[in-house]
C-alpha cells in the first residue's frame, strides 16, 4: 500500500506538532488538563488535517456535515475530552454526575458509530442490536475505567510509551485489514501521543535541571518531585478510549478486522496503560516487564495475523 513522505507529514508530523504546540500553549493550566487538552486537541486537529490533504472544502464539509460514521469521531473525541476536562475541574460532590454522563456517553458512542449501518437498518434483529450495543457500551466503559485507574500503578513513562506502541500497532492491524483511512487515524493517535509526550519529557528534564541548579540536594533527592511533570497517560483516558475503541469498532463492522484481532487490540490497549493488580511482581522492574509482555503479546498476535493475511493477498 502506498505510504510516502507526504503521508508521514500529514499523519505523523501535523498531529505530533499540533499536540506539542498545545502542550506549550496550555502549560499554565493544571498538568493533567494540559496533557488531556493537548492529546484531545491533537487527535481532532490530526483528523481534520487528514482530510485537508484532499482540500479544505472537503475537510470542512466532513466536519460540519458528517455523513459517514468516521466523520463523527472528531465530535465524539471532543465530547470525551470535554467530560474529562470537567472531571478535572469539578468538585468531588459533582463527580457522580460526571460518571453518569460518561456512562451515557459510552452508550452513545457505539450507537452513533453504528446508527447508519446496514446491520442496524436491515441485518440485525432487535435482540442482536441490543446485544451488540450492550457489548460495546460495556467494552468502552471498561477500557475507559481501566485506563483512568492505570494512574495508580505509576510508571507513566512506560505506560505512555506502550500506549504509543499500541496505537502504532493498531494502525498497522487496521490498515492491513483493508481500511487504510481508519489505520491512518490510529497512526494519528500514535503521533499525537508522541508529540505531547516529547514536550512533557523535555519539560520534565528542563525542570529537573533548573531545580538541580537551585538545590544541590535535588540530584540525590526524590525524583517524585518532578516525576514526570504530574502528567500521566490516564489523564487522557476518555479521548483515547473513544478514538482507539471507535476505530477498532469501525474497522470490525465496516472493514475486515476480525473479532479476534479486535479483542487482542482492546486487551493490549488496557494492558499498555490501564490498571493492573498490584502486589505481584513486587519490584517495579518486574511489574514493568509484566506490563510490557501483556501489552506486546496480544498486540503482536493482532499485527502478525493481519499482516500475514494481507501479505498472502495478491492485491496490495
Amino acid at each position: 500500500m502506498p505510504f510516502g513522505p507526504m503521508d508521514l507529514f500529514w499523519i505523523g508530523a501535523v498531529p505530533a506538532s499540533a499536540a506539542a504546540l498545545l502542550m506549550v500553549a496550555l502549560r499554565r493550566l493544571r498538568p493533567n488538563t494540559t496533557w488531556l487538552l493537548s492529546v484531545g486537541g491533537g487527535l481532532i486537529l490530526g483528523m481534520i488535517a487528514q482530510s485537508v490533504r484532499v482540500g479544505w472544502h472537503t475537510s470542512i464539509e466532513k466536519l460540519l456535515h458528517p455523513h459517514v460514521a468516521l466523520d463523527w469521531l472528531p465530535w465524539l473525541v471532543l465530547v470525551a475530552t470535554g467530560i474529562c476536562t470537567l472531571a478535572n475541574h469539578t468538585r468531588s460532590r459533582w463527580q457522580h454526575w460526571l460518571v453518569g454522563l460518561a456512562c451515557l456517553f459510552v452508550f452513545v458512542v457505539p450507537l452513533r458509530l453504528l446508527a447508519n449501518s446496514v446491520y442496524v437498518a436491515t441485518r440485525w434483529s432487535l435482540a442482536e442490536k441490543m446485544g451488540v450495543l450492550a457489548l460495546w457500551t460495556v467494552a468502552f466503559a471498561t477500557v475507559w475505567r481501566m485506563l483512568s485507574l492505570g494512574q495508580r500503578n505509576g510508571q507513566p513513562i512506560l505506560r505512555g510509551g506502550l500506549l504509543i506502541v499500541v496505537a502504532g500497532g493498531t494502525a498497522m492491524t487496521i490498515a492491513a485489514s483493508g481500511a487504510i483511512t481508519l489505520g491512518e487515524q490510529a497512526g494519528i493517535t500514535a503521533a499525537t501521543l508522541l508529540g505531547a509526550a516529547a514536550v512533557a519529557l523535555m519539560k520534565s528534564l528542563q525542570l529537573r535541571q533548573e531545580n538541580s541548579g537551585l538545590d544541590p540536594l535535588a540530584d540525590a533527592g526524590s525524583t517524585q518531585v518532578f516525576h514526570p511533570l504530574d502528567i500521566d497517560p490516564s489523564d487522557a483516558a476518555g479521548p483515547l478510549t473513544v478514538m482507539l475503541g471507535g476505530l477498532i469498532l469501525l474497522a470490525h463492522y465496516y472493514s475486515e478486522l476480525s473479532a479476534a484481532n479486535a479483542s487482542w487490540l482492546g486487551i493490549s490497549l488496557v494492558a499498555a496503560a490501564g490498571w493492573l493488580p498490584e502486589g505481584w511482581p513486587e519490584r517495579p522492574v518486574g511489574r514493568g516487564v509484566l506490563r510490557t509482555v501483556l501489552t506486546l503479546l496480544p498486540l503482536g498476535m493482532a499485527v502478525a495475523s493481519a499482516l500475514a493475511a494481507a501479505l498472502a493477498d495478491p492485491y496490495r
Binding site: P2, D7, W10, A69, V118, S255
Partner: protein
C-alpha cells in the same frame, strides 16, 4: 329565457365535447419495462497511477423504465445497484473497495438513480436518445446528473417471449463529488470514473407490475 338556456346548454355541450375529445390523448398507457436480470452490464473504469485503467462491474441491480412515447415528460428511468456486488476480478481489491476507503457498503449498500426530467434529444439523427436528468445517490451523497440514454432497440425477447427494449448510457463522474476521496492525494487512483450501463427491460403487464425496488 329560452335563449339563455340554449346558450348554457351549448356551452355545456362544447365543454363536454372538448373533454371527451381530449380524453384519449391522456388516457394512453405508458409501457413499463423491468430489468432483464440476464442482460445487463454496469461497467466502470478508473485510472491506476496514470498507468492503466482498472475495470469493474456490478453484478446485482434492479431497474425500471416507464416509457411514454407520446408524452416524453412522463418517461422515467430508475435504477438501484447493489454496491456489495462489485467485482474487479480481484477478491482482495473487491474487499478493499467495499470498505470505508471507497464504497463503504456497510453504510451505503446501494447506488440509486431516479430521473426527474426526460427529454427526447432531437440532435441525434436516426437514433432515439433521451437526455435524462435525475438524482444519482452514491456513497450517501446525492447529485443531479444528466445521462444520455439511447434506446438501442425493441422487439420480442429470446424465443419470442415478452417484449424487450434495450438501452445504453455512457458517462463520466468524479468520485470526489460523492465523497470518495481516498488515494486522490497521491493520484494513486484517478478521480474520473468512466461508466457504461447497458441493459434490457422486459415489458410488464400494466397494472400488474410492482415497484422495481
Amino acid at each position: 329565457m329560452v335563449t339563455r338556456l340554449s346558450i348554457l346548454a351549448t356551452l355545456l355541450f362544447a365543454f363536454a365535447a372538448s373533454w371527451i375529445a381530449a380524453a384519449p390523448a391522456t388516457a394512453h398507457a405508458a409501457d413499463i419495462y423491468d430489468l432483464d436480470q440476464s442482460h445487463f452490464s454496469i461497467v466502470f473504469s478508473v485510472s491506476h497511477m496514470n498507468m492503466s485503467y482498472t475495470y469493474g462491474i456490478f453484478r446485482q441491480a434492479n431497474a425500471r423504465v416507464v416509457l411514454d412515447r407520446e408524452n416524453q415528460a412522463a418517461t422515467k428511468f430508475q435504477m438501484t445497484i447493489s454496491t456489495e456486488s462489485i467485482d474487479t476480478n480481484n477478491a482482495g481489491r473487491d474487499k478493499h473497495l467495499k470498505g470505508p476507503d471507497f464504497f463503504d457498503v456497510a453504510q451505503f449498500p446501494a447506488i440509486t438513480f431516479e430521473s426527474t426530467t426526460v427529454t427526447l434529444d432531437s440532435r441525434t439523427e436516426g437514433r432515439i436518445v433521451y437526455q435524462v436528468t435525475g438524482n444519482l445517490t452514491m456513497h450517501g451523497v446525492t447529485r443531479q446528473v444528466t445521462l444520455p440514454i439511447q434506446l438501442l432497440g425493441e422487439g420480442p425477447g429470446p424465443g419470442g417471449q415478452g417484449q424487450h427494449a434495450g438501452f445504453l448510457t455512457q458517462t463520466e463522474l468524479k468520485r470526489s463529488d460523492f465523497g470518495m476521496t481516498k488515494f486522490l492525494e497521491n493520484n494513486m487512483v484517478g478521480d474520473a470514473v468512466g461508466i457504461t450501463v447497458s441493459f434490457e427491460g422486459v415489458k410488464q403487464d400494466v397494472g400488474s407490475a410492482p415497484p422495481a425496488r
